[in-house]
Amino acid sequence: MNPIEFGEKTRHDHFLMDQDVAYTNHGSYGPCPRFVYEELQRIRLEQERNPDRWFRITKYNLYVDCVRAAAYRLDCNFEQIALIDNATAGINAILKSPLPIFTSTTGGTILCTNLAYGSVLFTIEETARERNMKIRKINIQLPIESKQAFIQQFKNELNKGDIENIRLAVIDHITSTTALLFPVDELTDLLHVHGIPVVIDGAHAPGQVNPQLSLNQLKCDFYIGTFHKWMYAARGCSFLFIRDPILASQIQPSNTSWGYRPMSFQLDIMTHFHLQFFHQGTRDESSLLTIPKAIEFADLLAGGFDRIHQYNSTLSQQAKNFLEQHWNIQGKDLFPNEMQAPYLKMILLPDLAEYKKTDDDAVRLINDLIEHYKVVAIILCINNELYVRIATQIYNRIEDYIVLADIIDRIRK
């Protein structure tokens, strides 16, 4: 079977987005291909035909298949990975669980960076408040000179001392608001040398980092990732990886429900860890069950990760080059090449008369682009400048970014 032709043809044949919109923000909500969308509908229909059978029997068997497929794809063990709705659910579960790092003594500190995702920072704040803990936030200043300079900022923070009190560190794999690729191996090693467990918020990483994500090869203690951003699953499909099975048995989802005390027949085919997150009352878990089809789409229709990565990363660099030349902003990168995310690039916007360089106006610009200009882009305010974070996916082509440039130019006037 010949893999699909990327670009316009894929956009038209395999995705459902409005044809006349320039879609440059795959990163936020990751529209899934028609192939997976149809699977979602099929699953829902099966759910409807005999709800009792589905909720009491069928869904568990399908879940097991999906976890196996996920574990195989992400190179980890079946017992180490559970499926969850989204990354937010994952970080909430870890931080609010009665894990020994939190309960063995009172107080303590959580280490994080200022580049963490908004709701992750909020969850850390709430956790610190509830558990009477402190937060040590490493203030990463942009631009970053080099990977070594970046790692040095972590070393500097740790050299300040009081490390025994740090219970947990939360770092990103690829940040959301700055599209920065963290050197997670070096950072994990550094933090482990100091005895600090590591949570990686990898929402954007699976399906984007090259080589493909291998949870076995990473050394972090917890990893939160998504299937619905860059791995073609339906929205509401993510995972929580916990390396240590003892910790996995101690983790509590935010929604303590039937899975807290599972039935023995359920434990025949999956672990307590799985059931805690999968048996949370009556819910529609259909999205979670699209993983096999999402993998099939990537491997068979799209021709495999290497082919996808080649296309997306090349187009991403091309689009970056084009926009930088167009607006004459070469050399203004926020970080070096080795720290650029493969499919996400931050491009400094020219001054726009109608939009101030604030978070509020960034949101206003996003909404105006959607409502009035048929462009979907994400605008972020970093260092008091407005940036567009462009994303490239197999349905994009360079014309999408040319349109983006045109529209921004129009807005400038």
Binding site: Q47, N50, D85, N86, T88, S119, T123, S254, S257, T282
Partner: protein, 415 residues
């Protein structure tokens, strides 16, 4: 003149309910036609119309996800809350939509701060998930002494005065009761409680009230202003015909600042509405079908007709099965019956083992899912009525149960 006659005929046609209740409504639903669903109460079933609407929302989300999540969903949700708040008679700002009652129970119980001497009361017939959440809390957050179960039996479940007297005895002994959790319509056994009286009673004692109304909305009339609870939860995918899953959470205004969602997200430290609105990226379309479910119901019949059909069918089915099995119905007073009924199983089912064997056999051999429980030393099953069901469905199930029992070789119980 012809036009006038045409208009009259159209008005005449419009003023009659379009569909009579019973099997003729089955094609409107997506259930496998060969499956007799006597357990609508557990997972609900949404009509095809709702699924079409669901697909429309999902397609909109795929056409332009950014537009959908940043702009459209907010507008749709606001309209939805206005519509739903009219249906349950409350201020739209006092209700939010969650995934399910489980998420709501967790949000409330994990948010409330209790002093070490304050207690939570609940009844023995509380839903399993509620008990598990309480168990978790008593292990990890509070202590066992702080969470107390009140035992109800055959008598007290269908007599509000006796129930309240029993509860008062416990309150007097324990003191410092901060919160009581109870059902509007319990799950197994299924009992419709007079929560209006109960709420008045607990308010007069200054005890916070958390109502698990999972089965209420769409099954019975729900008037939150009249009831005046502190916290009220109800799953709309059970009896209101929405797609799974979505739940109404109502919190009295002055208590809203105390309760936070179990998932912290972008609304952190903002208003009640903002905190509960966005809980991470997922498909929120099922929430939006609440609006369509309300529309759908209006095309079928008046609300009161839907209530009455299901209520009467549940009662009649109960009598029928009790007669067929030569057993009894748990609740004799009809005002404690909603749209579900509890019938004692044929008396040969006199142990938990036998009950479980029968339960499994019905699933495996007959494709019948019939929830069963032991209550106050007897064994009951729970049937649900629904607008697509008729009395002969329960007769069929009654025969199947007898058939199944006759072919089971119950091993003699070992001493």
């Amino acid at each position: 003149m012809k036009i006038v006659i045409c208009l009259c005929l159209i008005l005449y046609w419009l003023s009659f309910p379009v569909y009579p209740f019973g099997h003729s409504l089955l094609p409107l639903f997506s259930l496998d036609p060969s499956y007799i669903n006597i357990n609508h109460g557990s997972y609900g079933s949404a009509p095809k119309y709702i699924h079409e609407k669901l697909r429309e929302y999902q397609l909109k989300a795929e056409r332009n996800p950014d537009r959908w999540f940043r702009l459209d969903v907010q507008i749709e949700m606001e309209n939805l809350r206005k519509k739903l708040s009219k249906y349950v008679n409350c201020d739209p700002d006092d209700l939010v939509i969650l995934d399910n009652v489980s998420a709501g129970i967790n949000s409330i119980l994990k948010s409330l701060k209790f002093q070490s001497n304050e207690t939570i009361l609940y009844y023995n017939i509380a839903y399993g998930m509620v008990k598990l959440t309480l168990q978790y809390l008593s292990t990890e957050i509070f202590t066992q002494k702080q969470i107390i179960q009140i035992e109800l039996n055959h008598q007290t479940i269908q007599n509000t005065n006796l129930l309240l007297k029993k509860t008062q005895d416990i309150i007097n002994k324990i003191k410092n009761v901060k919160l009581i959790i109870f059902d509007h319509i319990s799950s197994t056994p299924a009992i419709l409680f007079d929560i209006e009286s109960m709420l008045k009673y607990f308010h007069s004692q200054g005890i916070l009230t958390l109502i698990d109304g999972a089965h209420a909305i769409g099954a019975i009339e729900l008037n939150l202003t009249k009831l005046n609870p502190d916290f009220y939860l109800s799953n709309t995918h059970k009896w209101l015909y929405t797609h799974r899953s979505s739940c109404l959470l109502y919190i009295k205004k002055d208590l809203q600042k105390l309760i936070h969602p179990i998932i912290t997200s972008f609304g952190y430290l903002q208003s009640f509405q903002n905190e509960f609105f966005w809980l991470g990226t997922k498909d929120y379309s099922s929430y939006l079908t609440i609006s369509d479910a309300l529309d759908f119901r209006q095309t079928i019949a008046n609300e009161i007709d839907i209530y009455n059909y299901n209520h009467q069918l549940a009662i009649q089915a109960g009598y029928l099965l009790a007669q067929m099995w030569n057993s009894s119905i748990l609740i004799s007073n009809e005002k404690f019956i909603s749209t579900m009924n509890n019938i004692e199983l044929p008396l040969i089912i006199n142990t938990l083992d036998k009950m479980n064997i029968l339960y499994q056999k019905l699933i495996n051999q007959y494709n019948i899912f019939l929830p069963m429980i032991e209550f106050d030393k007897k064994f009951y099953c729970r049937i649900s009525a629904q607008i697509y069901m008729e009395l002969n469905d329960y007769q069929t199930v009654g025969k199947i149960v007898l058939d199944a029992i006759s072919t089971i070789n119950f091993l003699p119980s070992l001493k």
